[in-house]
Assembly symmetry: C2
């Protein structure tokens, strides 16, 4: 076996989820990721944990959802019962075809997601990690060979996460006590928001592998301005290009896209919370230097920020502060590498992708 797969498994089990003896572990993976499942299973055996293995089959999901009546979806009690007794969830992605569920109607997907919501909520209460096994479909989406894509993935996931945590802590120290954040890029993006009272989290690959961002929650009513998301977003196999959002009092009042605008419209129509921001994230993983059409990687890229419409991440919103609720959470990326800056409480903290605490930063231009 490729030793990088074993190293990936070690990061998952030792660093991201810190599995201990007798932990009940759920490993969820597509069939194409069986090599990584085997490597993880070996580590779980060494730990004395109790694993269960779920097959994530996008082909089966597609067949099931297409055949089912929208009204027939109900909560799968057996899956909820299992999740309640689970300590650690290891969620592995990877596809032979990333567009496998592209012909499932959005309303069916939404109805199924709604019926399954308690399982997802329960999962969020566990120690969990989401990662990806380098697979031909993901490589193709990235327009890379499978071998080159594997190099890319292992560079991003098998790294010194303690050093990464320290690097990112510098940005947490800036953002956590801040009130107002302004993001400007070219002529197309100028948006401000308040993060007052919210918590800035340091993602060093505990929940996401790769990690590599700091993130917080904007106050739901505070967002003003317009944003052009100049990196595309892939949603259920369909690519939204050139998405634009205009905010007033925190709410999306205008939207558009160059491609698949209807998909963006569907997302915004999910519920009231889908029209407001739930997250501001700042990418800081310098080993992710290519855009690969996979949000797990793209949002961690150095030189980018992302905004998510929909549900806020609970641990970024202290009790008593307003938490944006929604059934959805969709990240969208702005390229900050050129003609861009991030301003925190009136001070520029990043210009053209370089942070104030990095070499080459220019305070004024």
């Amino acid at each position: 076996m490729d030793p990088r797969i074993e190293q990936h498994a070690e990061v998952i089990v030792e660093h991201s989820t810190t599995v201990e003896a007798d932990d009940n572990v759920l490993v969820m993976a597509p069939s194409v990721a069986e090599d990584l499942v085997v490597a993880v299973a070996e580590k779980l055996g060494e730990k004395g944990a109790n694993p269960g293995y779920h097959l994530r089959s996008s082909r089966a999901s597609r067949a099931y959802m297409r055949a089912a009546d929208e009204e027939s979806f109900s909560l799968a009690d057996h899956k909820l019962a299992e999740m309640e007794e689970t300590d650690v969830v290891i969620r592995i992605g990877g596809a032979r075809n990333t567009s496998e569920t592209s012909d499932v109607a959005g309303r069916k997907r939404a109805a199924f997601a709604k019926a399954s919501k308690p399982i997802g909520e329960e999962r969020m209460r566990k120690r969990w990690v989401a990662t990806v096994h380098p697979s031909p479909g993901n490589a193709q989406k990235a327009e890379m060979s499978t071998e080159a894509y594997a190099d890319f993935v292992y560079d991003a996931v098998n790294k010194d996460w303690d050093a990464q945590r320290e690097h990112q802590a510098q940005m947490v120290d800036i953002l956590d006590p801040a009130d107002e954040v302004r993001i400007v890029s070219g002529e197309t993006t100028d948006v401000t928001m308040s993060v007052e009272g919210m918590v800035t989290a340091n993602d060093y690959a505990e929940l996401n592998l790769p990690g590599g961002e700091v993130y917080t929650a904007p106050r739901p009513d505070s967002v003003e301005g317009e944003v052009l998301f100049d990196k595309p977003l892939v949603r259920h196999g369909r690519e939204i290009d050139g998405a634009r959002l205009v905010f007033e009092d925190g709410r999306v009042v205008e939207y558009g896209a160059d491609k698949n605008e209807d998909v963006l419209g569907e997302i915004l129509d999910t519920d009231e919370g889908a029209k407001r921001l739930g997250e501001l994230g700042i990418g800081m993983n310098r080993d992710i230097d290519e855009f690969t059409y996979n949000m797990l990687f793209d949002e961690k890229m150095g030189d980018t920020i992302h905004l998510a419409i929909g549900k806020a991440i609970e641990h970024t919103v202290p009790d008593g502060e307003p938490l944006n609720e929604s059934a959805t959470h969709v990240d969208m990326i702005v390229d900050m590498s050129e003609d861009s800056f991030i301003e925190v409480d009136g001070e520029i903290v990043q210009r053209n992708g370089t942070f104030r605490f990095e070499e080459g930063f220019e305070a004024d231009v």
Copy 2:
């Protein structure tokens, strides 16, 4: 998709497990069987059932068990909780390599099986079926091409199970009220046992797909004589050939085998119940006309009987009758096609593989 896969899925969902709306269903399958999982998922969608999918990875099991300390195995509460809330279990077999777990120590396997026992017991209380997706490893084991093996599997599983039930009912009518059964084959097998008070079950593909046997439980103390199992038995990738057992007062007092005798010894040493019979089965599926080294098929073959050492099947033992308890249940086959007969209460009911109620039966020779 091969329409026979869809038909297989229909037999599983409609006939074997009679899935209904809102049933919580567990589909357990190896990655090589994903096509059948997809076809089953579609049927479950039509029914309005709630599926969960388990990956059965023999590679992961091997890695886990080899890495773990024998003492570290404990009950996986999350898997038990899930099983308790499950209505229907669909267990799909199939392998790329049927010897994948052959280098896991027997004592580890036994320790793991012991820790997991409550999950298996809970599963037996559900509507469940075990079947096989035609896979390269199984085809190789059968010394057949994958295509020819697929033909073989679909002939055996996609058939008129109502007609099969009626055919087998004739043997149930003979065996159910019987007291003594004697099985004679050549010079090497002559064994008698009492089935008095036990229930004879008709397997028409409810629990096993293919089905095609009638079976009951010998009274544990009643077995006398010797048996040569002239069809091989594959246990965890190792083949036991020419197994011989000698019974006195129901207990194995002598054993031997031409190949892998130590594996047979390990099975007999599992516990006290492993030294007694738990099942007498009579194969009646005439569409299974080749021996393929897969007990699910082999034991249903016309012209064979099988005896299982270990645990009796609960629904064949009425309350108040002695039920043989064991952690194991291992089927072993006797070829009855030549120089053989089955005698029930002194009357010959099958000679050289032909039943009394079939054409060509000879009462005397």
